[in-house]
Symmetry: C2
Subunit: 499 residues, 2 copies
């Protein structure tokens, strides 16, 4: 191997763009967050399921958001029988495959949740990764919008469980049928209008970022952005654009006001009225559950960028602001969203299977929780192990015995395994965030003693002011390092860890 | 969408070969198992780290076991800048990349663990998947074999923590340097012997399966298997083969006996003697830690199939037998293994970086724990949610209120969201493994009552013998279904759940 190693030293240790390693702090925070979400989802009767990372490309279909060129965006490769395989790009398409494949044995309605990495073969950027984690919950086989309402309430509960205060988030709800009604009333429904409708959807989805004026351009002739790039518009008439923008701005002070405005906007469209009735039904459920107090709000400005939604759509938004590293206010905005996709399982089964689901962007939510210092993700910095120093190499079995005693008492502990001297060993313990180190040189060994170093007290001692009262100084010194009988090792360490 | 759906109903819902979905039971068992392993690894001072699934192909290198054609076996694809990317095939190569990339900021020695899926683009078979999970622990930067010994003891602790009884497992330890010494003593060392050495390694690695006679053929002229396929042999002389087989069978009744036999087998080879001395050092540590009682055993028959090991190699074996579904005895054998790979990080850094690590095959270990019915993975079957039936669709907000009360009390509960009648709703509750269902029709509503159905008592009632004493029957009937005031919903459900 060493020969081979010398030949190959030109290999550079680096990751492809848009991929990242995660250390113990981030992993522990994410674990606690996911555990809390699972708890809430379990309370709602959702059960865990997991699908593999690789699927047949045709089974996944092409349902990427904002993906005009559908063959791009996905990592794909050919199997040895020439069939195309892809890394999953979301957790919804694999769920549709899973439900269709196991349809008969699943309870229906089938409530499930799953968390896992998904992959996008896109240009990465700040906060935009090619591998990232989603946490999804879906109900398949329930046509009633009570299923959508339930997921909205569950999202609210999950955010509060994670430490987001009431008032710092809102679940926004809309219905694609209402939008369809508005388009119909504007004379934009019918055969061959699919592409135009998608442009309208994506234009409205940019309201947050571009404002009404920007969206007006995208609904009309098109829009040139700051960089000079031109985006083709939907070429709608001014009357149609006005109607759409009066729809998206129809949110009132409460859900009842919003609903009556929407009813006016859809005119006579049967589909539009059906959508309004569904929102009314959901609104009644939010009120009955106590979520109609501003936690779950009907907001027609929410449409979601995905083509496959067929009914209610919803989005979880964090409304508070935090300062970024330059002191600028940053609003967190959306941390998850979803909606009803009654056609997705139908791709496999040839009959419509009603379904609705919600997806959390795990990294974004984690960043938000870190920003508000939620105890779920911050907690105490993980305490490093007790480090037993190696003073005499021929005594390693004896030191190993100390370590074993500590572990048997449930204390994380390790033998220093490098070849450095005592000072470097103590520095190592600091780097591991250890609370204490155990030392036994030949002097101590002969006396049957160990020396316990409290590294926190030691650091305080090193920083102590010169004019510290002598008694205080001596007490600190005594705490920072003291001898104990070898037999009292565990008790002495417990004493320091309990300080 | 529905139009599109009709067009696409020819898509078949299926997974590519060698990939599998996992349901709630298996996921819960695996979660508990991994949690227990993390606890033990944490006690030993190992910290979590995670690397992405995709790496540069050249950074991963070609270190697959039993992979004669190294370009196969790995899922690879080209990035948009034409560089080759691969899905990781193990967790060791990415760790080497990670350590090399972050070398200066890591504590050294660096103890870490990581669990995650790896991918093999191989022909799948029974129990052989193309995506499977490994759980690895590695110490990088410690040249001392105390690091190897520590990992062996940690593996023993982990197995016991998982419910494998002492005596039902053994950690077997060997050292590649001893094998090198044997080969040297047999006149097989030196330039250009690499390929032959690899054949010898892989032949010995098959001892378990082929026995000494089969391995003798592989070390000599070659071997034809049952299917008639011929495997080329190492073409060694009879004297060399005898020496190797006397080495692999050198295990004695205890480690001391084995060590003295090994010392005799390596002759004058300096490298062989160094290997024996390392095993001696490890043996002393096992004794000091109390693991020399047969839990960690020096066994020269263990060589491991990977080329890159440079010193100690070790394997965790489950020694008990269980019956398979046909009643045949099955021995679990190896559930994990590892060894020292001092050259792997060197590929990036141009200087040797000592490292040793251990990898658990998660699915195999999980299957073993299920076979011995370890409480870690079996536990109680997960209890399904309380199901609130929908008797009158216009009362859904009221039913939703019941569900919210139960959840607020920490009880997993759900509203039935389908469109079926009462009997189908009760069947659904059974399928969800629910303990009880809540019913409120118009009669109960008018009286301000609910009906609680205990589904377990109900099942017992349905099966009750005809000649059951009447009093007993009535008591069972009362338990199976009873009315309660609506205000006592939570208390009544708690009563049933506590039965």
């Amino acid at each position: 191997m060493s020969e081979q190693a010398e030949k190959q030293t030109s290999v550079k240790a680096r990751l492809p763009r848009g991929l990242a390693d995660r250390g113990p702090g981030e992993l522990a925070g994410a674990d606690r967050m996911m555990h809390a979400i699972r708890e809430i989802y379990g309370l709602y009767g959702f059960e865990a399921v997991e699908t593999p990372f690789i699927e047949y490309t045709d089974a996944l279909g092409k349902f990427l958001p904002d993906q005009d060129r559908p063959n791009e965006g996905v990592f794909s490769f050919q199997d040895d029988d020439d069939q195309w395989l892809s890394l999953r790009y979301d957790l919804t398409a694999p769920l549709a495959r899973y439900v269709a494949e196991h349809y008969d044995k699943l309870p229906k309605p089938y409530r499930s949740y799953r968390a896992g990495f998904v992959f996008r073969n896109e240009k990465p950027g700040p906060g935009r990764f090619r591998q990232f984690m989603q946490f999804d919950a879906d109900t398949v086989g329930a046509a009633s919008v009570a299923a959508d309402a339930e997921i909205c309430m569950m999202a609210a509960d999950a955010l509060e469980r994670l430490g987001v205060a009431r008032g710092d988030y809102v679940i926004k709800v809309n219905n694609r049928k209402v939008l369809d009604g508005v388009l119909e009333a504007a004379g934009l429904e019918g055969e061959g209008r699919g592409a135009q409708k998608l442009i309208v959807l994506r234009a409205i989805d940019k309201l947050d970022r571009l404002g009404a004026d920007g969206v007006r351009l995208l609904l009309g002739p098109g829009r040139k952005d700051e960089s000079g790039d031109f985006t083709k518009g939907a070429d709608l008439s001014t009357a149609a654009i006005d109607r759409i923008l009066s729809f998206t701005s129809a949110r009132g002070g409460d859900n009842a006001t919003t609903l009556s405005r929407l009813a006016a906007t859809v005119g006579e469209s049967a589909r539009g009225l059906e959508g309004v009735a569904e929102l009314q039904e959901m609104s009644a459920l939010f009120d009955a559950g106590g979520y109609g107090d501003g936690r779950v709000v009907i907001d027609p400005a929410v449409v979601r960028g995905l083509e496959y939604y067929t009914g209610p759509v919803y989005e979880a938004e964090l409304t508070f602001q935090v300062k970024d590293e330059y002191g600028r206010p940053v609003r967190f905005g959306s941390v998850g969203g979803g909606g009803r996709y009654d056609g997705l399982v139908a791709r496999f089964r040839g009959e419509p299977v009603p379904a609705t689901g919600f997806s959390i962007g795990v990294s974004r939510l984690l960043a938000a929780l870190q920003a508000i210092k939620s105890p779920i993700v911050t907690g105490a910095a993980p305490q490093g192990p007790v480090v037993v120093l190696v003073m005499d190499r021929d005594q390693i079995p004896r030191y190993q015995g100390f370590v074993a005693q500590l572990r048997a008492a449930g204390i994380s502990a390790e033998l220093y395994l490098g070849s450095a001297g005592m000072n470097a060993q103590l520095k190592y313990a600091d780097k591991r965030n250890s609370r204490c180190a155990i030392i036994q040189g030949s002097n101590e060994r002969e006396k049957g003693e160990i020396v316990v170093k409290d590294l926190v007290a030691g650091a305080a001692l090193a920083k102590a002011a010169k004019d510290m009262p002598r008694e205080e100084y001596l007490a600190l010194k005594e705490r920072a390092q003291f001898a104990a009988p070898e037999a009292d090792l565990v008790a002495a360490v417990k004493d320091v860890l309990g300080r």
